[in-house]
Amino acid sequence: MKNQKIVDNKMWWKRIPWSGVVPGLMPVLGLGLSLSGLGLVPGLLGVVLGLLVVALVVILRYRPRTASPSRTAHRTRLPEQPPELAAYLLRFLPKKDREAIIGDLEEEYTIVYRRFGLRKADRWFYWQVLASFWPSFKRAIVQLGALHWLGEVFRRFIS
């Protein structure tokens, strides 16, 4: 029964109504684009801050207390399971390779956990999660830069 509860908490993101959250991100992008009139950096900051606020609201609203990836995380987690917050962040990877990447990281997490223990395995997993976002982040920055440049060209064209 206790294990069942842990498994339910582990899948807490499945309870999030994504169909409501995704349209909610549009004002964030709108805010970023409107701030981009002041320059690329304020625009990007607007988007990043807006996304952080949305992520915080979603996490605080839907994430159960027992699934906290804090110092007591190992007590609520099943053995050889990666940290839940990091595993949750992987849901935001591009859909194409998401399942394969999550599977690969979980498989390697088990190896690292058996060899080096929980603390090092968790640190390794968080680092891998951050690193796995880097290519997508870099592409998004380039695309935003291109969008900003196009907006600038358009603004000069109509003025």
Partner: protein
Amino acid sequence: MGDEKQFLNGFEEYVLLAVLKLGNNAYGVTIRQAVEDATERATSIGALYAALDRLEQKGFIRSCLGEATPERGGRAKKYFTIEGAGSQALDAAARARQRLGGLQAAGGVV
């Protein structure tokens, strides 16, 4: 000049060689280990999959989903196999390196 699309960068070449070496067991974990062992440098899974995507778009490799295992949280492995174009690209890269090696020797650097 050769087609830009068929050009292999250094990391893509390592990944392609790893896929070739691993044969039927080439998926994310094993490819990353092979590349890390060969280069003695850490490789992020994101960078690896970005390179694999580029190679697939160029037609050098193809992917297929394999079996799901419990240690992967029930998720399927994505296996990669090298295509004929991939082997040709590796040959071309090796030839270019040989030619450049010849130039280097002729220049008295080596």
